[in-house]
């Protein structure tokens, strides 16, 4: 069942110039993106910096205004709602941010940080509130006493778990995780990723997982959308994308990942050269005259590619 439908989402920024600073052009940060999130799945949005994946996530949660298109959450179009009407939906959609050092207020105690969403939505007595906060903190593996500590008293991984606890307090349906582990060391990263999988099972969460790290994406995601210059160029199950990539950009991205086996060195280099050659030769097949990718076309029930 679809929890979220993103239809023809566009986020354009005007470029002003010339006489009277008129709008002369637009930066198409997100350019006609459509995808569906099913309940309980993890959908990965992948691409390089500047491809519009973060903007897409932020437009869904309403942090950035969509220029056009729909964001249907359980059938309601969030982009058409007024601020007051949007309020109840904020409870259902939560966000985990990239940097656990800047996304927690250093002057607040953990109790106040984690309770903030509760205070916005529920009227609880201080005792009830504390109990609830302690409950979620224990769920994310932090001790109940940590509520009176400040963010700087925690390590990077623990802080990220505080961020996750804050996202969980209101029992959301959808969590948008924007590069949730890229600021963390590998061992801590593994801990947070395992933990995100566990709570997904337990709470039946749906994730929109935004990342540039294809190893993590493969580990976490059921379905994947590859973004390039504001557009989706390929979408499919994790298996389809990694074993049978069709779009030249996907191939290029996959071949660029360092191979963690030194014995594959020669083969990886040869593959990269081959893909690079194909990229140069067939660029015009995959992109139109303006360098925009074509609309997605299904090639199997689950696999779509941007080809003419």
């Amino acid at each position: 069942m679809a929890l979220l439908n993103v239809n023809h989402l566009k986020v354009y920024y005007p470029v002003r110039g010339g006489f009277f600073r008129r709008v002369v052009d637009h930066v198409r940060a997100v350019d006609d993106v459509s995808f569906t999130l099913n309940k309980g799945e993890t959908y990965g949005l992948v691409g390089e910096s500047g491809c519009g994946k973060t903007t897409t996530g932020r437009a869904i949660i309403g942090l950035i205004r969509a220029t056009a298109g729909e964001v249907l959450f359980e059938g309601t179009d969030l982009t058409k709602l007024r601020r007051r009407e949007f309020h109840p939906y904020r409870k259902d959609i939560q966000m985990i941010f990239q940097d656990p050092y800047s996304s927690l207020n250093p002057r607040k105690r953990v109790l106040d940080i984690v309770a903030e969403p509760l205070r916005n939505f529920e009227r609880l007595s201080p005792q009830e509130e504390r109990q609830k906060v302690q409950y979620v903190l224990e769920r994310v593996g932090l001790s109940a006493e940590s509520i009176y500590k400040y963010p700087h008293e925690f390590s990077g991984g623990q802080r990220q778990r505080i961020g996750i606890a804050r996202a969980l307090t209101l029992n959301p349906k959808l969590i948008i995780a924007d590069e949730p582990v890229s600021a963390l060391d590998v061992s801590v990263q593994a801990q947070v990723l395992n933990f995100m999988k566990e709570i997904q099972q337990e709470y039946g969460l749906t994730y929109l997982f935004i990342s540039h790290d294809l190893g993590i994406i493969r580990h976490m995601c059921d379905r994947i959308g590859i973004m390039y210059r504001g557009r989706l160029v390929e979408e499919g199950t994790s298996e389809e994308i990694f074993t049978n990539p069709q779009h030249i950009y996907t191939k290029r991205l996959l071949s660029a990942i360092p191979n963690a086996d030194p014995r594959e060195r020669g083969r990886q280099e040869a593959l990269r050269r081959e893909v690079e050659k194909e990229y140069e030769q067939s660029y015009s097949r995959y992109f139109d005259a303006n360098g925009r990718a074509h609309p997605l076309k299904p090639i199997s029930p689950t696999h779509s590619v941007a080809i003419p």
Partner: protein
């Protein structure tokens, strides 16, 4: 390896002052870098890999740092040199590539000027010669239209181009040794692949040795000849790259390899290394430093004063705990190639 040694690090200890005491961030490290060899230093943050590299360049603030041991570079001990003498070597014989190309470049100077700056210092060249050489360098690092880029400022270039400029500065005087501190961490994967290709190409062409510092084991697998795995200031395992990835011994190396999600194969669960790298002033100074993080391995399995020992030709491991190590959660052996297809 029958290569000539270019840099010999001997019993290096780098200590930082915290309060009134000095704490060693790099502790008794000995390592030889051969000519035209790529040696990778890997480990989590706080393991001392950058502290080691910066001590080679002499970039630690002297009032807060104590450096002991010897760094023999082409026969001279870098640690015995005065600042003036060191300045003749660093930038010329030893080049450094920094992690973040945006902060490593001066925003107020054109690309051309920044590359020429180190030539001013080390080489006697006329303005025309310098410019010619700079253009050649820009072309060498794969920058299109070098004549135009010569006059550009860093902010006018993309991240990948900036990192190429940083590399051009590092190789401007054709150093014998390049220290690359997380050279691709700030870059996108496709750009990363290009930069790795470029560094490998330069190493082949110029016969440079590279000390590669990174936490990305994929980059290590693609570039390194030998790998030194560092934990809490010490080298815990040292071997050629194939051995490290296919037959690792030390529990830390094996745990690291198991904790990384791979794009080539899929694992259900990632291995989590318990605990954290202890902060400098809380480091255990006796016994096996990795012991607290593999608590299920009995204390009697560790040595009381573990030393780096050669267990087979060219393969060095610290502490005997590797002989008893197993993963608590599953049947993983630790190392790629096992179990995964």
């Amino acid at each position: 390896m029958a290569k000539q040694t270019l840099l010999e690090i001997e019993e290096l200890r780098v200590s930082f002052r915290i309060g009134d005491d000095y704490y060693a961030a790099v502790d008794d490290v000995s390592l030889a870098i051969g000519e035209n060899e790529v040696v990778a230093l890997v480990g989590e943050s706080g393991c001392g890999k950058s502290a080691l590299a910066l001590s080679i360049m002499g970039l630690h603030p002297p009032e807060k740092t104590k450096i002991e041991g010897r760094l023999h570079f082409k026969g001279t001990n870098l640690l015995s040199l005065s600042v003036a003498e060191l300045n003749r070597i660093r930038g010329k014989e030893i080049g450094m590539i920094f992690q973040d190309p945006l902060t490593a470049l001066n925003p107020l100077m054109t690309v051309g000027r920044q590359i020429e700056e180190s030539m001013d210092y080390h080489l006697r060249l006329s303005a025309a010669e310098k410019k010619k050489r700079t253009i050649v360098l820009l072309r060498k690092v794969g920058i299109p239209e070098p004549e135009k880029v010569y006059h550009r400022y860093p902010h006018e270039l993309s991240g990948g181009m900036r990192q190429r400029v940083v590399i051009a500065i590092a190789i401007a005087c054709e150093p014998a040794l390049l220290i690359a501190d997380e050279p691709t961490t700030a870059l996108d994967v496709t750009i990363q692949a290009q930069i790795i290709g470029l560094l490998k190409e330069l190493q082949r062409q110029m016969k440079t040795s590279i000390i590669l510092i990174t936490h990305d084991l994929g980059v290590v697998a693609e570039m390194a000849d030998r790998v030194a795995v560092m934990y809490a200031g010490e080298i815990v395992e040292l071997a050629d790259v194939d051995t490290i990835f296919h037959r690792p011994l030390h529990p830390y190396t094996r745990s690291l390899l198991q904790s990384i999600p791979s794009a080539q194969t899929k694992k259900e669960r990632l291995h989590v290394i318990q605990g954290i790298v202890p902060p400098l002033h809380k480091l255990p100074r006796r016994g096996c430093r990795f012991q607290p993080r593999i608590s299920w391995i009995g204390a009697d399995k560790h040595e009381s004063d573990p030393k780096l020992r050669e267990v087979e030709p060219g393969h060095w491991v610290r502490c005997t705990c590797y002989q008893h190590f197993y993963f608590p959660d599953d049947q993983t052996v630790g190392g790629i190639g096992y179990g995964a297809s």
